[in-house]
Symmetry: C2
Subunit: 156 residues, 2 copies
């Protein structure tokens, strides 16, 4: 009994340490990924956005040809930023739902709300949309955006 | 050596039989799923469409609230059909790309072209779109539609 007591005490003493140092599991990793995606979008930080994509990533946007591979995605982001030069993101909020993980693949769907202040006295852009995301765990053990589609949210 | 020869001959004789009777693998199964989805849509066969969905399936359509679960999907299909009563699908073509399989989850993206003849002398609807699909293998070992999003194709 004394032996067991010592063991229990040792476990009790080390558990908080273990929970701080052990990997947190794929669900928590994907929640962290979502925060990085939200922050990169909010900051209009193309380099940070691109770093979240898989090399073979595909983005499917409305009325737009499929954007296939990291090089095409980089060019699209650069072009989109150039089109709204001087604009600033006043608000970007994203909420994701129903994370589902199967081996090295995860899917989730998200809703987003963005308010972009436009230069030259143009009215701000206030838009809401939905996203379907597929994430893939890479050789670097990190999750990357593998496939993304967006469409507009319902009107209120 | 004679023994090995017999074995090789036996294998050579049975291989065609094995290839006809063994399961065909998930990639081929998903191609077959796509054909069923294409046919059900072409036939505007709501029962056949619904049979392809997972119980917890989610459909994400533009300007529409997320449609969550088979009961909501059934109601949406019934309502959509009622809205265009008398319409017939003249053409529905779907081509899917980059099937990716991870354990019980598969993803692919598709392009589609539909021409719907409308009743009452209305002009036909001729539309093109893209889809991001997530399929899940169910307890019945069959693939089902787990998540679907659609948006419009690029203009020509």
């Amino acid at each position: 009994m004394p032996c067991r007591l010592v063991l229990v005490s040792l476990l009790a003493a080390t558990l908080p340490l273990i929970s701080q140092t052990l990997p947190t599991g794929p669900h928590t990793e994907i929640e962290a990924f979502n925060l990085r995606l939200e922050q990169a979008t909010r900051n209009m930080d193309n380099a940070a956005m691109l770093a979240l994509w898989a090399d073979q990533g595909i983005s499917l946007l409305p009325s737009t040809k499929p954007i296939v591979g990291k090089a095409e995605i980089a060019a699209f982001l650069d072009n989109a930023t150039a089109q709204i030069k001087g604009a600033t993101m006043e608000k970007f909020e994203m909420t994701c739902h129903d994370i589902d993980i199967s081996a090295d693949t995860a899917t989730e769907w998200c809703t987003e709300h963005q308010v972009v202040l436009m230069p030259g006295g143009k009215p701000p852009f206030d838009g809401r949309g939905k996203m379907l995301l597929v994430l893939k765990r890479g050789a670097d053990a990190k999750w990357h955006l593998f496939r993304e589609m967006w469409n507009q949210a319902e009107s209120n």
